[in-house]
Each structure stands twice: as structure tokens, then as C-alpha cells.
Symmetry: C2
Subunit: 458 residues, 2 copies
């Protein structure tokens, strides 16, 4: 049976006519591909399909669904079924699902889990306290920890036992802990296989273990794993007690998630919690509208600046012609500076102490780019002239372009540096914010420069 | 000896007075932290420090330096020393370094490597053909492959041998290959430890191996690893022959690199090849200036549109006052749409066939946001009035804002959808490009709408 053919009506028919054949076809597929099929189905059909899978496959599929669909599925199942699914999931994913449910549903399902697997339920109740975007929220508590005096042959036996019960996220690292679970060192499975079976873990272990604290932000975890090229990092509490571990595959998701949040912030959107299609229209209106309304209020200043210069405009209407051109040059340059500076800070290329170096670089760059665009602006102003002498108009446009472009580069770099300085994410210095600021200030500069240059004429 | 104190002059003194103590202090540190120290040193000192380290530590530090500093170090060393360092590196990193060197230096160092480690030199010459941003460029050829009839005990012996020689990037996956290295399946070390020692790999193996082709782009590799939660993915040629593998820690770097490139493109910069500080001023001028000049040329159209409407402007100078306000609202909305759509496509939330759904969503969103901002624009226009009747001015500003904001949302979503359609990276639909397009079209709309509304007045 080809599952690709089973979308929509066909699937409904197969569910009724040949559930056994369908079940076999399902078992042959990768859970990720199944998750994509389930995601495209209506609620009723997706639940029917998940019921048809064995609980272990169903759990793997559920882990891979977007949060809102996980909730739909869990709420459509009986409490016992839902608890059965939960018990098959990895502990970190199990907690994520429970955190998405509303409190009532979560309590009912946890109560059912408490009956069948009291340990798993307790674990969820403990882990649920860590916010999802911290090391504690990412970690799995299923980690192998053994005392330092364990012999290698004992450790390998223990690994075999645990691997058999599938009771650990990874069996490739064995953490060596003193009394009270205090983390002392780490031994890889590779090193154990190489070692003599009579050696103790204390002899083999590497005691310089890179670790994170449970309260560390997920960005810190991703940074540590990427920096030290780790496949897993242990999570400890503030007494250095081992709580669990975060594996690199979870971190790939974190890095992608953070890049999306940054891109949305830089684009001037309050970061979405769900995927594009799972976000409601109303939430979009709120998360985009709030930013736009605030910027619009700020941009009203441009109208005020224009009004303040109405006399100059009356005298020289040609000035107006170049307003959009000059403002946009400033905004574009600012957008470039911001993108460069924000990313360089995100990946750690720019350290906290280097702000003056960055600022000098960007201002110099702004002057240089301003010179290029200013020359082009001069040429256009010179050719148009209008009601002013050509040379004067050229100089006015060229000089303003130079100043506004340099201003754009300055704002585009100062703003991210400042937002980091005050402890905010630099990505909130969004392109729209930079463009708006550069518009208001740029307009003021334009009229000042143009007024100064054209003074000779009147 | 505390290495933190050894920056600059102290380090020079320590190099002369107590090289042995310094060497010991170095051996105690993590290579990543050493790499950061070396990066901050002048060329001469960094080479002296690297010479002081044992070759294996030096290789680990070199692997972690930015490309331009790797080249500096390699070119400052004697060919034999450089070859010695290369031979200690992982094959994938080794190739990366050689690819960064200019051809002459690469040839001299490879010739030296050929003498000491002919196999490694041959391997480099083969791998160097894969572009660095493909699966082939990322992979390491040091992978464990065994025939299907191998018994588990034989395989474990082989793993032990290989782990001892440190001759594989990971020993946790054993690939099962038929005659001619055709990839048949995979067995994890965990499964082998669980299995009976008399079983064959064919019995244990999972034959549904997710794989990538050597010519696949690194983004595809990252996507596959993230999607299927893999710790490593095998790389095959177009005859399904196993060539090597890419591990997830390399992919974390790829994801970060791609996010940076996307952010730079969206900011309107041609992506940098090196880090922020390693990029020369001239390269910055070129990579930013080219974009700005093209956009400036396009933006000249705004001046043309203004000129074309000079009559209208002469009659109603108040119109001009709102130009920056209205244009920036359109640009800001476009920037939001672009950020949302580009990221949603990058993480696979928006499929190729869903463009109409996205377009309808964004246009509706644009109209809705336009309505909000339009009402605010109406209020401001109504209050200013100027040389026009207040109500007319309010309607002209409000209606234009609505239209321009809807236009911004449309451009911000259509452009990324179109660029993907024609096979380009959607991120090239940069914010500056969208803002510029929306300026030119927005200005046209503004004058059309305002002219229409104000017609009653004249």
C-alpha cells in the first residue's frame, strides 16, 4: 500500500476498509514523514491515524507535530490513551507537550499517567517548573550517572541494561558523579571500549566537563555546544549536581528557532509563538499592528519637520522632489549596518568592549558610501535644477545625501550596540525602527543643509 | 601559571623566560579558549604560541581559528611544520584549510604532506574538488564501513581498533556496505552492544538509511539532519556508494552561517565571506556600495514621480508634508511581510504550492493594518488641513495610507515568493529593495489617490 496515495478521501476509505494494511504501511515509514502527513489532515482523521499506529510509533509522530496540533490530538484522545502516548515519549518532549496543554487537561492526563507510570508523572511535575526556553526546559533527565569507583566492565553492563530499556537519550556519555550526584567527570563510550575492563571510571574520566546551569537560556546552551563542538552537554543545578543533559540535535532546533525570532524582530514583528499558518489573523494584527502604530506615531514627526520648513518649501519647490530619494538612501544604509552588526554580535564576532571600534568603522563606512551616493545625487540635482541655479541644487542634494547616508550608518550601528548595552536583544533594533529614526533626523538634516547651501540664492 | 594574565607583553616575556611552564599551562586549556587567545595576538606571537603546543593540540586550535588567521599561521610556518599540523587535523578541517590557502602555498605544503603521510595528501587532493558549501565539502571520509556478513564481535573489535587509532570522526555508527561500497544499512554502536556477538550486521542493520548526495548543498544537509533528528548522515555519490559522513556538530555551524548570510542579504548586503572584523574596508564598500548604487538608481524614479506631479504640488503644498509618513508606513509593512514569509519558507513552513494562500493572507493583513494606520493618517490630515479643506485632506491622507500599506504587504510577500519561484534565495528580496520598490509605487499611488480626492476642491 502506497501511503502517498492516501490523502483525504482515500485515507478515510482505507481507515474503514483495510485498517490492517494501513497499519503495516505506517510502520514502514519514517516518523518525520508521518508527522507531515498527519499535519495536513483534519483533526478527526489525524486522531484516527494516530490511534491506528502502535503507541511507540504514535509517540514518535506526536513529538514531531507542531505544538498546536499536539494539543488538538491530546485533547481528542481519552485520558488513558493520552497518558499511554505520553509514557512512550522522551521525557523532554513529554514535558513540552504537557506545558502546551491547558491546566485542566494537563491535570487529568497527568492523573491517568500517575496510575500507569507514577515515576514518569513525578518527573513531569518536576521538569514542568523550568521555562521551556532554558537548559532545564530542553534537558532530558534520563542520563547515565555512575560513581567514580565503578569498574569499566560494570559500567558497560549498566550501559547495556539501560540501552535495552531505552531509558537514556544517549548512551555514548557516562557521567561520573560523587555522592549527592555532584558532577565530577565524563567518560565516553568510546573511551570505555578502549579502556581495560578492570580500570575504574575515575581513572578514565575527563574531569574538565563543559556544563550549563538549568536556568541558563537556550541561547547559552546552543552557544556552548556550537563553540566546543559537543554532541551533548550536562545540565547542573547551582550546587553542581547533575540534573540531566541536552543533546546537540535539540540545539539545532534551538538555533533555527532563534534565527527565526531574530529575523522577525529585525523585520519589525513581535516574534510569533507558532508557525506562520498556525498563527491566528488576530494575533498577526496585534504583533504587527502594535509595532506599526508606534512607528507611525514617531513618523508623524516627519510631517512636523516638513511643516516647520514650509517657508523654505514655498520658496524652492524643487527641494521636495528629492525628499524620498535622500531619506531612503539613509534608511537603506542603516538597514545594512544593522544587519551586519546584529549578526556579528549574535555569533560573537563583536565583543562587548569593541563598540567604539564598530562605531568608528560604521561612521567611516557611512561617509565613504555617502560620498559615492552624494556624487550621484549631485549629478541628478545639477541636471534638474528647477527653480534654483543648477550648481546650488546639485550641491544641496549631494551634500544632504552624504550627511543622511552617514547618519543612517551611525543609527544602524549605534542602536543595536545600545540595545545590547541596556540588556535587550540587539535584534529589536528593527529595520523599520532604524528607517523611521533615520527619516525623522534625515529630514531635519536635509532642510538644514539645503537651507544653508541655498541661502546664497535668496 | 594563569594564562589569562599572559596577554601581550607578559606573553612575550613568558615565551622567552619560561616556555616549559607556558607549555604546561596551554595543555590544561580547552582548544576553543586557546583559539580565542591566539586570535587576539599579533601574527608573530600567535605562531610562536602554536609552535609551543604539541602538534595535536596545535591542530585542534588551528581548526577553530577563522579562515584568514589559519592562512596567516600556515604561511608563517615551514612547509614541514605546516604539513605536520595538517596531518593531525580531521580530514574535513584539513581540506578546509587547504582550500583557503593560495595555490602555490597549498602545493608546497601538500608536497611536504605527501612525503610524511601520502594517504592523507591523496585524500585532500580528492576532497578538494567538492565545493566547501556542499555535503562533499562538509564530510569526513573517515567512516566505519563493514560488509553485511560481519559478526557483531568482529565489528566491535574493528571499532576498538579504529577508536584506538582515532581514525574515525564517530565510532557510534557503523555503515554496512555491499561490494563496491554500496550503502546497504546502518548499525549503531548501541545496537551492537545490545546484540548477540554471533549475529551478523545484516541481521541487526536498519536498511532505511537517510542519506545525502555529495553534491547536495549544505542547507539540504542541515535540513535533513534537523528534520530527522540525526547525529550523523552518510554521504553517497550518484551510484549510492558511501563516500563519508557529516556529523551534527558541523551542521550547527552551517545553520548559524546560513542564518548570518540570510540576515545580511535581507539587510541589503552581499554576504561576507569572512567575519566582520576580518573583512577589508574595500570589500565592505563594494558589497554594500553595489547594492546601494543600484537602489539609488531605482529610487531616482521617486524624483521623477514628484516632478510629474509638480502641478498638483504647486496647488497643494500640504500634500508634500505627508510624503515621508506615508511612504515609510508602506516600507515598514513590507519589511514585516518579507521577514515573516522568508523565514517561514526557510524553515519549510510554507511549501512551494502555497503561494496563493500566503498572498491572500498578506494582502488581507495589509488591508487590515492599512485600515488602522489609515484612520490615524486621517486624524492627522484632518487636524493639519493647511491650504485644503480639513475633511478632504484627512480623506486623502487616510485613503493613501491604506493603499500604500496594503501595497507594502503585497510587495513584501510577492517578492520573496517570486525570487524562490525563479530559483533564487528568497532572502535576496532585501528590506532595502522592498522599501525602494514600495517608495516608487507608493508615491504614484499617493498622488493618484490624493489627486482624485482633492479634485473636488479645485
Amino acid at each position: 500500500m502506497q501511503l502517498a496515495n492516501l490523502i483525504g478521501p482515500d485515507l478515510r476509505a482505507a481507515l474503514e476498509d483495510d485498517p490492517e494494511g494501513l497499519r503495516e504501511a505506517l510502520e514502514d515509514m519514517h516518523p518525520e514523514d508521518l508527522a507531515e502527513i498527519v499535519e495536513d489532515l483534519a483533526d478527526l482523521e489525524s486522531v484516527a491515524l494516530i490511534r491506528l499506529m502502535g503507541p511507540d510509533l504514535a509517540a514518535e509522530v506526536l513529538e514531531r507535530l507542531p505544538a498546536d496540533r499536539q494539543v488538538d490530538v491530546m485533547e481528542s484522545l481519552e485520558a488513558d490513551e493520552a497518558a499511554g502516548l505520553l509514557s512512550e515519549m522522551d521525557p523532554d518532549d513529554r514535558v513540552d507537550v504537557v506545558q502546551e496543554l491547558d491546566d485542566d487537561h494537563a491535570e487529568i492526563i497527568l492523573a491517568a499517567l500517575q496510575k500507569s507510570e507514577p515515576e514518569a508523572a513525578e518527573e513531569v511535575r518536576e521538569l514542568v517548573h523550568y521555562p521551556p526556553e532554558t537548559a532545564g526546559g530542553l534537558m532530558t533527565p534520563d542520563v547515565i550517572s555512575l560513581p567514580p569507583e565503578t569498574k569499566v566492565w560494570q559500567a558497560i553492563d549498566r550501559v547495556r541494561e539501560i540501552a535495552h530499556a531505552e531509558d537514556a537519550e544517549t548512551v555514548y556519555y557516562i557521567y561520573v558523579c560523587a555522592y549527592g550526584e555532584k558532577l565530577m567527570g565524563v567518560v565516553s563510550l568510546r573511551e570505555m571500549i578502549l579502556g581495560e575492563s578492570s580500570q575504574t571510571l575515575a581513572e578514565l574520566m575527563n574531569s574538565k566537563v563543559v556544563r550549563v546551569e538549568a536556568t541558563d537560556d537556550q541561547e547559552v546552551v546552543a552557544d556552548v555546544i556550537a563553540r566546543y563542538d559537543l554532541t551533548a552537554v550536562p545540565v547542573v543545578d547551582d550546587h553542581e549536581r547533575l540534573l540531566g543533559l541536552v543533546t546537540v540535535d535539540d540545539v539545532v532546533d534551538v538555533v533555527i528557532e532563534e534565527a527565526t525570532e531574530d529575523a522577525q524582530k529585525m523585520g519589525g514583528v513581535v516574534p510569533l509563538e507558532d508557525s506562520y499558518f498556525a498563527t491566528s489573523f488576530l494575533e498577526f494584527v496585534w504583533k504587527r499592528g502594535a509595532v506599526l502604530v508606534v512607528l507611525f506615531l514617531g513618523q508623524l514627526l516627519t510631517a512636523t519637520v516638513m511643516e516647520a520648513n514650509e517657508n523654505l518649501l514655498h520658496q524652492t519647490l524643487s527641494l521636495v522632489i528629492f525628499v524620498p530619494l535622500i531619506l531612503s538612501s539613509g534608511g537603506n544604509t542603516g538597514s545594512q549596518s544593522a544587519a551586519l552588526v546584529i549578526r556579528a554580535m549574535a555569533v560573537g564576532e563583536i565583543e562587548v568592549g569593541e563598540w567604539s571600534k564598530v562605531l568608528i568603522h560604521e561612521v567611516a563606512m557611512g561617509l565613504c558610501l555617502g560620498l559615492i551616493l552624494g556624487l550621484m545625487g549631485f549629478a541628478r540635482g545639477y541636471l534638474v535644477g528647477g527653480d534654483v541655479e543648477a550648481l546650488h541644487m546639485g550641491v544641496a542634494v549631494g551634500a544632504s545625501t552624504l550627511c543622511v547616508v552617514a547618519l543612517g550608518a551611525t543609527i544602524g550601528s549605534v542602536l543595536p550596540l545600545l540595545t545590547r548595552r541596556v540588556g535587550l536583544d540587539p535584534a529589536v533594533s528593527s529595520n523599520p525602527l532604524i528607517a523611521s529614526l533615520s527619516d525623522v533626523l534625515g529630514l531635519t538634516i536635509y532642510f538644514a543643509v539645503a537651507g544653508f547651501v541655498l541661502e546664497a540664492v535668496f
